[in-house]
Symmetry: C2
Subunit: 287 residues, 2 copies
């Protein structure tokens, strides 16, 4: 496995690979890797000749009061895990090489980004779009593997690739979960032991919504209320609990006659819940 820290060198290597007829799969990460990331690497491997993983804790996608400084980092562990997963190139740039002091270009998505996490975290998706566009220009992959756990990020980046004509195909990878159902996340580390037990409530609230939906419930307000009840039985505080159109991420249409929101097209059930030091997200598609 090659470890590359220079964007120019990474770009040069990518060009050589392309010229030699190779196809590149790319997994962008912020490090502190877990089995969820490993599953992305496995899917990357199945789709191309060369697997590139990037590790970069992108300061520009954190708000001023968020956890950029405390975000967990463990390069030694990450490197070992990448080697074991058969990664070919680990791209690990310095922040100073990624953002010059007078950096002044931003890429923003102005529709899908305005709701859910975008509403709670102003500037977050601008930071995500900007860094991923930079990484795509550096790594020049044919495939990019993204986790379904970050549902809004997946949809925003699909839109970015479409609207900016990036020549990359996005592959969505199913969320990997702990034995009890908690979605794997680097931020689970922030949970106290008691909170860790409670944190399964995100998964349970989604399971509740799925069960009600499967039983015929099509009133979004009723589904959200049922989800909320599961969260409120714990110490977690809901940042948002939403059911939105899976494509546009806008509220599902309000049915005047029935006086309620009703689900006809596939809908995304998504929530963010805050524990003392952790803000966790999870989602499922109702269809």
């Amino acid at each position: 496995m090659k470890i590359i820290d220079s964007p120019e060198e990474m770009q040069k290597q990518a060009r050589l690979l392309i010229q030699s007829g190779k196809y590149i799969s790319f997994v962008p990460t912020m490090g502190y890797l877990h089995d969820g990331h490993v599953s992305l690497m496995r899917i990357a491997r199945e789709n191309a000749d060369v697997v590139v993983v990037s590790i970069f804790v992108n300061p520009m996608q954190f708000g001023p009061n968020e956890d950029f400084k405390n975000y967990p980092r463990d390069f030694e562990h990450d490197e070992k895990l990448c080697r074991e997963a058969g990664v070919d190139i680990l791209f690990y740039p310095n922040p100073e090489n990624m953002y010059l002091d007078d950096h002044s270009i931003w890429l923003s998505e102005e529709s899908l980004s305005t709701v859910l996490c975008g509403a709670s975290r102003p500037g977050h998706f601008r930071g995500v779009c900007t860094i991923v566009a930079k990484l795509l220009n550096i790594v020049q992959p044919d495939f990019m593997v993204l986790g379904e756990k970050d549902a809004q990020q997946l949809r925003v980046l699909r839109r970015m690739v479409r609207d900016m004509n990036f020549s990359v195909k996005i592959i969505a990878a199913p969320t990997v979960r702990e034995a009890d159902g908690l979605a794997m996340s680097s931020r689970n580390k922030y949970l106290t032991p008691a909170e860790r037990k409670e944190a399964v409530c995100l998964f349970q609230s989604l399971e509740k919504a799925k069960a009600l939906f499967a039983a015929g419930e099509r009133n979004a307000e009723n589904l959200k209320a049922a989800m909320r009840a599961v969260i409120e039985a714990t110490s977690g505080k809901a940042d948002y609990i939403e059911i939105v159109d899976d494509e546009t991420l806008q509220s599902v249409p309000f049915d005047e006659a029935q006086g309620r929101q009703t689900l006809e097209k596939p809908a995304l059930a998504a929530l963010a819940v805050k524990f003392s030091s952790a803000r966790l997200i999870d989602n499922t598609v109702l269809r």
Copy 2:
């Protein structure tokens, strides 16, 4: 010469060219081509194996009261001129293929874009950056040739390429002028015969500034006043007449002791002048 109208097909051709070891030079244009464009194509040819020219009147870089609808178009003439210039691929997309109805991604530059034309034309450089980023992703060139006439555009796009890690090298091409000195521009067509004679005032005001600078004048206010006097002797109305730092495009530092702006580093003298239906720009670097 191949004419390609589909972004997907253009991208596919570019990939094949890169895989076969070819280098691509790219000249983005809005059509209605003139000798200035031909000089860009000549420079493109000198630098790579394959020359791609795009013709696309980008609606997103025109303001609501600007000349998008009236912008001159003559594809037959443009096609002939490209053939004669030895262009390999003419990329001529439909607007509907470039911007879908729910397009929601924008690339903006937030420092260099705020002054000069950016101050007079809000949203202009956001439109320019977005379309050029899209074209770079579609054409995947090694070189992009841009005219020095659009001085601010050149600097904004250099910044975009740097900050977004595009793997393209920008080549700046000297402004091509009519016999009397008027910079060639598709918008010169808007001038009445009387205005056409007067329009040389932009060039003359820059020549005046250059002569005074060469004679030792370092007071930006004096240089701007001399430029303004040349414009005010015509029917043209100055939109702006500025002398700014050539790198940052910010005002040159104010010298408290002398009570005036003084030029120490290379400076850009730039102006925009409105005639009845034409807004013309020109510039020169004072060093």
